[in-house]
Symmetry: D2
Subunit: 264 residues, 4 copies
């Protein structure tokens, strides 16, 4: 099979996803307050990440659990990103919020639960903003590509795909990171692909190995959760790296990227 | 484990889901036109079904495939249901359409792809209309119950759960109908549970056996696709029963219902 | 699809599997001693089961756990079965034990872990004894039929297939009982099919519902674990019915069998 | 989590699995004849592989398909390995063949279908020969470790574990390569772990990416199918690399190994 030449997705002025440089999106699972988000963002930027991740609107499995600060969270995220000279990726979960979230974000994330929310996908297709589309946990690769096509058909081809693990019988990891999807997607379409080692493993101790593996497999980027005080996190703290671990990981990723002809 | 006494969900004046009577929802996958829908509805009613199913808004995996007639479809559905003295169950896929769809339907269906669309769930929770909540194809039972709780917490406890098969490695059936979820749900909550033998098997030849099994397992109802000319159907015709097969099935279900203390 | 006319498998003089009568195999998971096995067997026979199940050789996941009494267990099983006028089904796990186990058993069981142990299958194919072949927990139905063909090609077509649940992401049940395999197998071959509600659910409270569902779906029999003192059982006691529950279940199964044209 | 210091498994005089050097096992799926095996082995050795793989006894899903040359195949394998100064890994499927296969092989492979064949495992535990234990396609990691313990408890701790993909709903790849098992196993025990990119992907075009990813994730070796004329192969030719592709892969793997502190 021939692989496609990867489409370049420009984020802001200086960042390109899909080019030689592997892009790292990092930050807290959720924007909880200025302080934690700032500490996380600053550490991530220092370590080399150019894109700040953080949720302001969250789809949570259990009702009543913390589901984000909403617009207040978006404002915090934007402010910190500007201070740190980072771009922002954050999730949009409601079709009625697209304009609002677009005011603050550089990339809109569609979470795995919404991968086949075609109402949301088509509405996003009518914007120009880059979309990070996460693979549903029970989606075939062909279904992920159909979801992307829902966006693209409406005119927006600024799409980044994300492998974040599938649901299987495995119990030792939160999901099963199906890394073969990375080269497979590159045979099937030209969208860049990033990998989420945090949600897929659910275990900080496995993130470094899976991050290296993702880059070796050809991923165009990673999205990683980093929290300055994971035990105090309001969401998914159990799977976050602390800033020191993240900085170490970034150092270890450089030679792997180089070994496969990329840089970081 | 003790099972809960099942909550009774009243549909219109005469229909109760969760009581002694097993309720059958039947009709075409999608409302394509008056003629097919009428023929299907009439045959279903004659055979004993009291609730007409049919989609006017469809989430389709592949963009560009037929996704329903929208409000025009709702009008057809309502008209035929009134003619046949049936209730209507139909899917709502967009949070902005809830009021519109509620004007025509007696039960609003949340499809499996939207099971964790909490924006939609919470909006439905603010209505009084009965909700048919389908299990996501990779959802744990506990996650289905959390999704129901998203609706219930906002005030609407008129919830009917639906087992429609999960995604597994099996290739011979469209999904794997996990019937043990029926008695399991009855241990965990008091919502009635129905079963979808059409989408779960994807094969007309398996629908009768799975319908009997579902009732024997304690299901409070079934939702079955019936189309007068399956080969001409615009969506999922391959899995529809023809009216004659459906009538035969209804006759065969009666003694099974009776054998487990139910009627039909 | 047309279903095949089911092949009749004769067990001893009086028992037929695959005919109008649904056959129940019941007894303890493992033969632990004369006393428990006798109490279980006697209660099962009184309630209507004609075939006594019980393991003398067990494949256990964890080394060092109780793996059966070996030939001593076979002797206990045979003695009690003769006293109660029951047939015996028991597992063979080692190709070198086939002759030995055949001296005591009426049906040799191949467990799910050995479904593709072609060395064992071919050796069993050279005997005349009926074989109970359990579906592997990750086996497609076509693979189960290929496994049966390994036996049949060597000359032994006395084969009974068993659906015992597949491994999926579900955590609330021990396995996912994929009941659609019952009518599907009947479309694909003529071997009788039985269902194991004990191993598939792993929960006594779900066994009754799944037993009824299995018979309603067309199963030719059931294999159920019954132990007089489950808490003292050396293997899988958590999923055993006590004799009183089993007797109640047998009474409840009769009308279901009748409703689908069978007897029990 | 702390990772264990990996146990060193010595193969013959010169080869160590689990040390700094990543070991490559390569060769045809099955020994078909001298000519193909020789061409494959010679090319693999020239490219840097030190261990020759090839099956003489095969468990095949479909009866009547080619299942190996038996002892004749073992003789061919040994002769060629000696000519090329390679070690031999080959599968044993029958407990009665252990002595025979051990005469010709340096490593005995237990295939995924036999991972819980405790009769075979315990018999192998009584030998001293290194065992390559493949993960069953529906086995939890804990179950793989229990299987290893069946061998170890009888005295043989020369065990190499192999991740070869699990069975999931994915259809685009033969299995789902669950690479997170590599770092996970290293947290749970001290056995070396190798990865099989051939069986897991079933697609030659994905093997290079997954081989790099495996090494980046910390694997101690790879087992790869190489055939000089894949279209003429009697078994699994569709997933074999040709010698030229394999040589290219070996060159590409070197910098990846170096990037994670290994050599190859």
């Amino acid at each position: 099979m021939k692989t496609h030449k990867t489409r370049l997705i420009k984020i802001g002025k200086d960042i390109v996803i899909g080019g030689k440089e592997v892009q790292i999106m990092a930050g807290p699972c959720t924007v909880e307050n200025y302080k934690y988000t700032k500490r996380s963002a600053h550490a991530c930027k220092q370590a080399g990440a150019k894109i700040l991740r953080g949720g302001a609107y969250k789809l949570r499995t259990i009702p009543g659990t913390f589901n984000g600060l909403g617009e207040k969270g978006l404002k915090i995220l934007r402010k910190i990103a500007d201070e740190e000279k980072m771009a922002v990726v954050t999730e949009v979960i409601d079709v009625r919020d697209i304009d609002l979230v677009s005011k603050y974000a550089n990339i809109l994330q569609v979470g795995e639960r919404n991968m086949q929310n075609t109402v949301l996908l088509e509405a996003l297709g009518k914007t120009k903003i880059p979309i990070l589309l996460k693979r549903g946990q029970s989606a075939q690769i062909s279904e992920l590509l159909y979801a992307a096509e829902y966006i693209a058909r409406k005119g927006n081809k600024n799409i980044i795909l994300c492998e974040r693990g599938i649901r299987t019988f495995e119990k030792d990891t939160r999901a099963t990171l199906a890394l073969a999807s990375v080269p497979l997607i590159k045979e099937m379409c030209d969208y860049p692909v990033i990998v989420d080692p945090s949600h897929s493993t659910g275990k900080p101790s496995l993130i470094a190995a899976m991050s290296k593996a993702a880059i070796a497999a050809g991923a165009d980027g990673l999205i990683i959760e980093v929290h300055p005080e994971p035990k105090k996190a309001l969401c998914d703290g159990f799977q976050a790296l602390v800033p020191g671990e993240f900085a170490k990981l970034m150092r270890e990723l450089k030679p792997v990227a180089k070994a496969v002809g990329r840089k970081l």
